[in-house]
Symmetry: C2
Subunit: 212 residues, 2 copies
Amino acid sequence: MRDAYHEQLDSVGHTLVEMAGLVGRALSRATTALLEADLATAEAVISADDAVDALHRELDVRTLDLMARQQPVAGDLRTLVTSLRMSADLERMGDLARHIAKVARMRYPEHAVPQELRPIFEQMGEIGAELAENVARIVEDKDVEAARGIEARDDAVDRLHSAVFMALLAQDSPHTTESAIDVTLLSRYYERFADHAVSVARRLVFLVTGEQ
Amino acid sequence: MRDAYHEQLDSVGHTLVEMAGLVGRALSRATTALLEADLATAEAVISADDAVDALHRELDVRTLDLMARQQPVAGDLRTLVTSLRMSADLERMGDLARHIAKVARMRYPEHAVPQELRPIFEQMGEIGAELAENVARIVEDKDVEAARGIEARDDAVDRLHSAVFMALLAQDSPHTTESAIDVTLLSRYYERFADHAVSVARRLVFLVTGEQ
């Protein structure tokens, strides 16, 4: 049996895993909303982000309370500070998924992403959601090897981000300025989502191994 | 005389003030580099961000060490956790100034920002640098009233951010797609810089008053 203190430490980790699950699902649905100009799904993603924000705030209170009351030893303290940071990354990932859904909503019933760019965004959405799922698993299992693998998948997102700009700049690209602006911001949101997933993975590696 | 522990707590605050000064100066110079297509200044801003990153890392180590060794009481613990978060905001503000300088460098000897949009970016640069200066003062003086004033200035940045898009979308706008992409990202960097300044100000209000 674990004591109440260690149960509370564990529950911080469980909340992070829950948040990672929620933001992965949010990105996946935001991508659907974006590519299918699906207003109901966009609205659902926008509303659902409140739950991520609430978990983030509640985790903050719980973690600070644990720090103040339990005077944790150095290792536990490092875990708790890292958890606060992971929670901030995950909260931001939720915001970025919401930003994507808001662009879908703003352009409805039009598509924010021109036809020829949809396959790139589809891939960014798939890899981003996969990164969030991996983050959940990595945090749950403290899996350093898997955490290191996240960087390679992030490189794929960076390549897609560049591909978006190349497609916009192609001579025969039929986009409007409005769609160039939308697409630039959307691509940036996916890229940042992936960056924050990498950030969580790096924090896990640092927590477990001490490597920067 | 203050004891060593309280001197260390104070020195965390001093480092935050130093970081805010550096990122304000970085944004100001990045804006010069951008608007004057000044390569040397762009390079200087890009290199100078290493100092902000170093302060951020060093503050992390120092703060975590204080937490682990001194077992601070609740109020000091809250100050230290808030300091870690402010440091993360300031480090990100430095990154955003560096991103702006990198766009200036990438387009040199051309101007990344078309002539007609330069006044808007000049204002965003001025307000952004002013926000960083205010952040330095607010953190130094724990000035809650001044911290509350930061939001109003951030609204001005948001209006300028919208003005950029309206200018790009104007019928007679002579921009190329390349410059629409550059300008969209640049405007986003300034907006995010200001958002992080607001975030530091809100953290200060919360620290001093307990208000969310």
